[in-house]
Amino acid sequence: MTSESDPSGRSLASGLASSASKSSHWPLDPVYRHARRETTVIVLICLLMMVWALGSARLFGFGTLDVETAERQAILGVPTWVFWSLLVPWVLGTAITGWFCFFYLADDPLGRERPPAGLANDDDPASVSKGALR
């Protein structure tokens, strides 16, 4: 994981962030830091799921078989590769999403609502759209 409180810009694509923020002395927004970490984990989970699904499909699903063997290769009435490459990871993927949502995704405050741009400078509030979103 990247240095979370480092405002110098070494982030997701480590090393790419540079001069813009190197000289800055302001603290990074915690929601940004959390979101960045969470996004990295999401991408990793996605890649792992893909490796599992495609890897097991490669292992169990490709190639021709004689009828008897193909008939035997079934779990719970679906082809073996469907069981390992779709059913199991689908259940697992849903469970991982549950874990991510309730145990990993930080419950961050998302900030105060600003009025839509284009409305803020109106000098005749009565004649324009009503201020901020709720």
């Binding site: 694509a13 800055s24 082809p79 999403t97």
Partner: protein
């Protein structure tokens, strides 16, 4: 009929209906669909009116286009899920599964993690940054983040161009789905007559005379969706999405057990599927014989057509004058010498003209040779044995076209077999799956990877999805909605794969028109279970899916014009009344323009929908992702990133189109990778390189989006 014979047309209750090209759906099914459609329309209108009432007294633009950023868990999850699931989910995907078997499960396997990736990737940051700038639309947000009105304009232009094309296709798809569902109903037939007299004869609209059913359904579809979207805005769209999402999941969850029961359990179905082999594409020559001469007949024609079981209401029993063979008719042929039984199904309608000695097929596709009736031939022994009836007017002799017949017609002898999987038992349960055209099969491992990535990441880059990420209430809503959507998708997509992988066990021969497998299965399984009225609810799923997508696209397009173009660029001080008129007006105008264009739509409609949907994701994914997560990302990088995506994606499509001699909209796929993957990779690369090669953004700007909120700005 043998005890195990396939009930081809759902027995007598499924007797054909005049006007239905295939004549397969029962009146009861149509009746159910009509009642459901009527109820459905009443409910969406009511929702629009209530949504409008609730939204009054709130800031108009934010309410109309974003529901005042107040979406709760259910609304957020369901609107996101329903918008993503389009008509293709319930018509196109089932057709693919039917054609290629279980392999399609891996093709859409990426959906196992789509809720987490497509929602989670940018949701929290996007919502946060939108609050900081007060953004209502995606171009709004990008324009402020990159500090460039011109970049905002590029975003708006890209959205309007892609979505306008997309809407034409979606409107046509919606109308076609309603036509499939309602065709044959009394009210529908009366409506057609009105269209002919008012629009055709009255206003001189040629298309109303040619295809009154389609025009009627297009008008029904358009009026419904335009009214509730324009009147109720985002809130109405979201609430109807919740209802539509519920209809979709109900349809799938009812259909799954009915299907498993109908096939006799998963194990029994697997044993049958393993033995299935892909059909062959052939042509038949049908000739008239003199019935009184007693000349031998090549066919094993029974008298099914005479006893009323014919699939076509207008199949004449009197072959001496005019007869027709409908699309979808089964033809049996027993070879006299070997006794071999062959079963064919017609791919299009053909007619015997007065005085002709040969059945003259009216070609739909000019590429097919005249006088040769295109059919598929079943190759699975079990299916051949089970089909024991023929719908062919008596007095006709059938033979299979041979090489000499093609030569006589001055056509090359076509390939009869599937390019992959032909004669291969187990083809439908194994990978890569049978394919009529691709010798390498339906799904290589590389292609599977490409699609896995595309389903996941293209959802994140879709403006109609992203605008929903601007609208949820807080992080807790995001947590719950993401998990809800994961459960919801698991309940929709995997069962869909199961249902339609099994569908070919119940309904063979639908390679003639695989797009109809969803309505046919709905009719078939509900009939077998003795609840044909339930088919109406199942058939509502596809039109709920297409409507929930169209309403969102319509509103995103209208917001581009009303908010991004007019309000931000032309008249920032516009009064609320004017903004309201322009917002509602642009929704209505865009809706009717799409309807008008859909009356005479361009070619390659389905391809156009795919092209525009993934095109938008290709253009937006990298700029949005980099804008939210990379502090060094600057204006030059943003322009470069979007233009690179746009250029590479269009090049791949343009090159493929040119390569096909402008006949097919099939993109070039370098290394088997989908254009989205290539385009998005180019977009990321150019965005990164151009940003690094140019001056970094001002520190104050970076701080505005990446720094902590000032104390006085902290949330109350």
């Amino acid at each position: 009929m043998s005890p195990d014979a396939i009930d081809l047309f759902g027995a007598t209750a499924m007797r054909s209906v005049a006007g239905d090209p295939l004549g397969l759906l029962a009146q009861q099914v149509y009746g159910g669909a009509l009642i459901v459609f009527a109820l459905y329309s009443v409910v969406v209108f009511a929702i629009a009116i209530i949504a409008d009432r609730v939204g009054r007294n709130r800031e108009f633009l934010g309410e109309y286009f974003l529901g005042s950023r107040s979406l709760g868990m259910w609304a957020f999850a369901m609107t996101y899920a329903a918008t993503s699931a389009s008509g293709g989910t319930f018509m196109g995907v089932p057709a693919l599964i039917y054609t290629h078997g279980w392999a399609v499960g891996l093709w859409i396997g990426g959906y196992m993690i789509v809720p987490l990736v497509s929602m989670g990737l940018v949701a929290k940051r996007m919502n946060q940054v939108a609050r900081r700038t007060g953004a209502i639309t995606v171009p709004d947000l990008l324009r402020d983040r990159m500090g460039s009105p011109w970049f905002g304009a590029l975003c708006t232009l890209t959205i309007v161009l892609f979505l306008s094309l997309n809407l034409i296709g979606q409107f046509k798809a919606g109308a076609k789905i309603i036509e499939t569902l309602l065709g044959g109903q009394f009210a529908y037939e009366q409506g057609k007559l009105l269209v002919v007299s008012w629009l055709g004869d009255g206003l001189g609209m040629e298309v109303a005379l040619r295809e009154p059913g389609y025009v009627l359904c297009l008008i029904l579809f358009s009026l419904t969706v335009i009214f509730y979207t324009a009147y109720g805005g985002f809130r109405a769209v979201v609430w109807t999405d919740v209802m539509q999402g519920a209809i979709m999941v109900a349809g799938v969850l009812i259909m799954l057990p009915l299907t498993i029961w109908a096939v006799g359990g998963l194990d029994a179905a697997h044993r049958k599927l393993v033995r299935m082999t892909p059909p062959e594409h052939r042509h038949l020559i049908v000739e008239r014989v003199d019935a009184t001469s007693g000349e031998s007949n090549d066919t094993s024609a029974s008298d099914d057509s005479a006893n009323g079981d014919s699939a076509s209401g207008d199949s004449a029993s009197d072959a001496a004058s005019t007869a027709s063979i409908p699309k979808g008719a089964w033809i049996l042929l027993v070879e006299p010498e070997s006794g071999r039984k062959r079963v064919f199904r017609t791919k299009s309608r053909s007619e015997l003209r007065e005085g002709a000695t040969q059945v003259v097929w009216k070609p739909i596709d000019p590429a097919d040779p005249p006088h040769l009736i295109p059919v598929i031939e079943l190759t699975t022994p079990d299916e051949i044995e089970r089909i024991d009836r023929q719908e062919l007017p008596p007095g006709l002799r059938v033979r299979v076209a041979e090489a000499a017949d093609y030569t006589a017609a001055e056509r090359p002898v076509p390939t009869f077999e599937y390019a992959s999987g032909a004669g291969e038992a187990g083809a439908y349960v194994r990978l890569p799956g049978p394919d009529p055209k691709r010798p390498e099969g339906f799904l290589s491992l590389g292609l599977a990877m490409s699609f896995f990535l595309m389903w996941n990441f293209s959802g994140s880059g879709q403006p109609s999805n992203m605008v929903r990420l601007l609208a949820f209430r807080d992080s807790r809503t995001l947590q719950r909605a993401m998990f809800t959507m994961a459960v919801y998708y698991a309940m929709i997509y995997f069962p869909l794969v199961v249902i339609f992988a099994l569908s070919r066990v119940l309904l063979p021969g639908w390679e003639i028109e695989p797009d109809r497998i969803m309505p046919e299965m709905a009719a078939h399984v509900t009939h077998l279970a003795g609840v044909p009225w339930l088919a109406g609810l199942l058939l509502a799923a596809p039109f709920a899916a297409v409507m929930s997508t169209v309403d969102s696209f319509l509103l995103v397009n209208a917001s581009s014009i009303a908010r991004d173009l007019y309000h931000r660029s032309i008249d920032p001080r516009a009064s609320e009344g004017r903004l309201k008129a322009i917002s509602v007006g642009s929704t209505v105008v865009i809706g009717f323009a799409a309807t008008w264009a859909a009356l005479d739509p361009p070619q390659f409609l389905q391809d156009m929908i795919v092209y525009t949907t993934s095109g938008l994701s290709t253009c937006f994914l990298a700029p949005v992702f980099l804008a939210l997560y990379w502090r060094r990302f600057n204006k030059a990088g943003a322009f470069g990133s979007m233009l690179a995506g746009l250029t590479v994606y269009n090049f791949l499509y343009g090159y493929g189109y040119w390569q096909s001699g402008f006949r097919k909209m099939e993109p070039l796929e370098p290394f088997g990778l989908h254009p989205f993957v290539v385009g998005a990779a180019a977009s990321f690369a150019v965005g990164l390189l151009l940003s690094l090669a140019t001056a970094p953004p001002a520190d104050a700007e970076v701080k505005r989006f990446f720094g902590e909120e000032e104390a006085e700005d902290a949330p109350a």
